[in-house]
């Protein structure tokens, strides 16, 4: 099962709740500052470990995360 996420920097406030929620530890707080002057979350998945489980999105207070998953995974929309 593979997946990926997209983080909308306009919404992200760098709270890092997603960083703690990701079971694969694929998120981290970025060094750079966003337009809104927060250090946003960054998705770093060089090895393609993201399962598209969506836990990051579940806890994101700013609805900044979009989650994609491989079709075959066939996961229901949450």
């Amino acid at each position: 099962m593979t997946g990926k996420i997209a983080i909308n920097e306009d919404f992200c406030k760098g709270c890092a709740l997603c960083v703690n929620a990701c079971p694969q530890k694929l998120l981290k707080t970025a060094k750079h500052v966003s337009k809104t002057s927060y250090h946003p979350a960054e998705f770093v998945d060089p090895e393609g470990k993201c399962t598209g489980c969506g836990l990051c999105a579940l806890v994101c207070p700013d609805v900044a995360i979009q989650v994609f998953r491989d079709r075959k995974a066939g996961g229901e929309k949450k």
């Binding site: 593979t2 997946g3 990926k4 306009d10 919404f11 406030k13 760098g14 709270c15 890092a16 709740l17 703690n20 929620a21 809104t36 927060y38 598209g52 969506g54 836990l55 999105a57 579940l58 806890v59 994101c60 207070p61 700013d62 609805v63 995360i65 979009q66 989650v67 994609f68 998953r69 491989d70 079709r71 996961g75 929309k77 949450k78």
Partner: protein
Amino acid sequence: MEVVYERPRSLFPVATHYCPGCGHGIIHRLVAEVIDELEIREKTVAVAPVGCAVLLYNYLNVDCYEAAHGRAPAIATGCKRVHPHLVVFTYQGDGDFAAIGTAEAIHVAARGEKITTIFVNNAIYGMTAGQMAPTTLIGQKSTTTPAGRKPETAGFPVRMCEIVATLPGAAYVARVSVSSPKNVVQAKKAIKKAFETQVRGLGYSLVEVLSQCPTNWHMTPFESVKWVDEKMALYYPLGEFKVPKEG
């Protein structure tokens, strides 16, 4: 790849004014998702509180009232009585629902008013910057309990679910939190049940959501969700206190 999670349609695509990590954002999202799933956006009326969520209407794409502090249930009642076919809900903080609005909170439930309340318990007054709430825990510091809340002078925290559950008019009463993915899933289930209770005309429904306020707790967002689990949930047990008889 398929999009498996994205912004609910009932939520405007704008950034919120909430602090980083604030639970309000999650709860807004859950409400929006439930509205989308029940396909009730066009017949939903929200009543925003006075509190950090006063600007709720900047985010939720439904008809909205902005209430006076604590009076959302009364406004919701006025609206629902005029339009019984609408889905009317109040969204209220602990100051709003459990302090100044206590009488309205109790009586909207006693009347079995067919509305839903999303009660965001963050154990503090967020909007006014950190004063004690009726739900502030014993020992918890706030700007009006600088030495920690002492029951001898400031009394004990109020458990609204337990109170409301005693009222026959209340059909669905649950307490949830948004401190972890699992709890968020639970929270959404409860919110959905609450709205369904209303749609089915069974009576008043209340979901109390334990919610982190990192800013006024002076914690990082991560510390704050841990505090919800480790401290708040002890005094405010999660669970369903009342479910409609027919399922």
